[in-house]
Structures are given as C-alpha cells and as structure tokens.
Symmetry: C2
C-alpha cells in the first residue's frame, strides 16, 4: 500500500508496477491535477490512515504490486554505471533520502543486501519522494561478493569512511564504472566490505560533532562524483 | 526539555546553556559513558515519553535553558565567515539536518527568519545530532535586509535555485565571506531574497524526479564550498 503524494504520483508515472486502486481525500483530489484522469475512491483521512497504517499519507494512498527489485548483476552490464551500495543501512528514511539524491544525481541504481538492511517499503518510497519508482534498486545476497563482481566487471569501488586511512573525497577521479559504498549509521562499513574497496574516501569534518548523517554524506559524495564525471 | 542521546550529550559538552536536570532509563545510563559523571534521575521509558512529549527520546532527556540564539549581525563580523541562511524552511527535521551538515562542514553559523520558519526546538536539536549546541544559530526579523547587511559587510550571497537563471554550482569561487541561502521546501527562495543574491546556483538534476530534498542540496552545496575554499 503506497502512500504520499509524490510516492503515488511517481509510481503512476514510472509504470514499473501495476497500481490497482487509488484512494484520496476530496481535498487532495482537488489539489493534485495528476489524479484527475484516474479512477479515485474518495474517502475520509481516517480511512486513509487505516489503509496506509500511518497518518503520513498526505491525503492519498494506492494499492500496487510489490516493489519490482532490479537485478544487481544487470546493473554492472550498463555502460560506465554509477551505483550506490548501502552496507546494512537500517533506517528507511535514510534509504529513501539516499535513493532520492541518487536518482537526482543520475545514478544507475542502488544496491542493498538482502538481510539486515532497510528495504523499499512504502515509508522508504515516501521518504524518496517516489524516486524508488524510477531508480533501479537491487538486492544482493552478499554485498562483498557483489562488490568483487563489480570489480571484475571493471568498476572502481569507493567506500565512504570516517577514519584516517581514507583519502580526501576530492582525490579520486570517479571516471568509468563507479560504485560508492555507504556504511551503516553509527558503525560504518563492515571490515570485509571496506577491504573490498579500491579506496576509502572521507569528507572533512571541521566541526565539534563527530559525524555526518549517512544521507548528507551520500549527497556530498554523489555531487562530487557528478562534478568529476562532467567537468 | 531536550531529548535524544546526541542532543543531550552535545548540550553538556558545549556548555552554552545550563542543563538543570537529566532523566534516563537504567539501560541508557549503563550504555552511555558520558552520563556516568552526571547526576541522573533513573526513570522508566514511559516517564521519559511523558517528559519529552514524544517517544523519540532514546532513553534520555534533560531540562535546560531555552536555546541561546546567536546575534545575526555578529556573525558578519567574523573573518571570512561561511554562513547558511534558510528562507522560511518549515520542517524541523530539515533545519536539524542542515545544522548538522553545516557544523560538520565548518560553517560559522546558521541564520533563520523570526517568522514562518522552523525554530531550534528539541526535535530540531535531536535531528541535528546536537550540532545546534555548537553551531551558532541566529534569528533575523527580515532575511532580505540581513542579506543586504551581509553584502555591505563584504559577503557574497549565493542562493540555491532550481531554475534556468542559475549558474552551475561549481562555477562560483566561494572565497572570502560567503552566505549560502536555501529556500523553503517546495516553493524555493522568495523573490526579494532571490533578488538580493549575487548569484543563484543550481545542482544538476539528471533523473526523472524534479527536486532534491533541501537538506541533501545543502550538503552537496556546502561540501562544494568546502572543496573550493580549501583547494
């Protein structure tokens, strides 16, 4: 059950999964022009809260097929892909926020582990402003194995790290196939994942607090990669 | 009433406002070493929820003086300040996230309008991971007037914009005194604020969705500014 204006709108625009029913409040139906050409069941906000299981529905929800995960190996067959991999990121808000930024930055896809990771839930979809409907998101059984596969396919693997073994974030050239690996909130990259990276990159921390939010770090790194790949 | 582990911890570390009482669950008291040297009243989680007014307290809350806002004009007297200004950003989560990134990037301070803006509430403090306890945050009666004052003080004003009148985000030099102005979610910069900017800068959008989250855009722009100022 998708909910949130952008989440439902982008699911309809992307047409990557069938949307079976749409419910909206009369106020949302009036304000959202993209709903006008659809068959919409008008209900009270309370009913949307019951359907969505949350009051964060923004006046609209939709029944759709499950999220159509992409194939992680297929992403590696693209021409010079830019892929973001998340190493056990737990928070669906962070997953959604990173998916949104990755989609805007023109990334080819997002790869997450099958276990101990936030998944593409309706909450993640809403947090992504519907970006997950366009951006291919793939699951892999073992992230370190997939990173080895990415290296074999010619990608360079960069892991975001806070420690002193990392190079400044502006140092790599980020050309060709690139995988940017972001670690979990608090704990960072797991040792085997970090060991698989060609380089660990760090954003400078000039303040008193010790770490950036993972989605803020992803935004800063992704746009440095975009800068490097386009100038 | 502050709540959240980082929010309370950073308030104690920063010593910018008196903390009068601290409450924590016994589990949090055991796991958080920085609480060991403090006088802590051990309570059940339900009591923290009642005190904090939310269940997002992470096992600790503290009674403290109100947020000690900085003086917006005083920020302009710093040597080559890097200041982030928010033009009616409404969401305390975005305010907190931007404050956290700004503090990490070494910004001199954050300026918000007195009205129609998210304020430094306990929720913003938690969203900032306590960064607002270190980063000076100032309020100004009229943001456009303050931007004129910043220009008179020698700062360059850059407004984040999505439209075609903007230059690429990598084009300015960002040296000397710099103010980065971020617009409200959805509506962007108000016309008079945009008109006050020396340049409007835009991040490229290579995907299908139409905009970045304001805190992601702030992260990408702030670290581009950091890159430019340090290389």
């Amino acid at each position: 059950m998708l909910y949130g204006r952008n989440a439902v709108h982008e699911a309809l625009r992307a047409r990557r999964r069938p949307v079976h029913r749409i419910w909206a409040t009369s106020a949302t139906l009036r304000s959202e022009s993209w709903l006008k050409s659809r068959t919409v069941e008008v209900v009270e906000a309370d009913e949307l809260t019951r359907l969505a299981g949350t009051d964060a529905h923004q006046g609209v929800c939709a029944q759709a097929d499950g999220y159509p995960y992409a194939d992680a190996s297929a992403l590696l067959r693209l021409d010079s892909p830019l892929i973001v991999a998340l190493d056990e990121v737990q928070d669906v808000q962070n997953l959604g926020a990173i998916a949104r930024t990755a989609e805007c930055a023109g990334a080819s896809g997002l790869v997450i582990p099958e276990r101990r990771s936030a998944e593409v839930t309706p909450a993640a979809g809403k947090a992504s402003a519907g970006a997950v409907e366009h951006l291919p998101v793939a699951r892999t059984r073992n992230l370190a194995d997939w990173l080895e596969e990415a290296k074999a396919a010619g990608c360079w693997i960069y892991g975001a790290a806070g420690d002193s073994s990392a190079v400044p974030w502006t140092q790599p050239e980020y050309r060709g196939g690139v995988v940017l690996v972001m670690g979990a909130e608090g704990t960072g990259l797991r040792p085997r994942v970090a060991a698989t990276c060609d380089a660990l990159v760090a954003l400078p921390l000039h303040g008193r607090i010790s770490s950036l939010n993972v989605s803020a770090a992803a935004a800063a790194l992704l746009y440095e990669i975009v800068r490097d790949r386009t100038t």
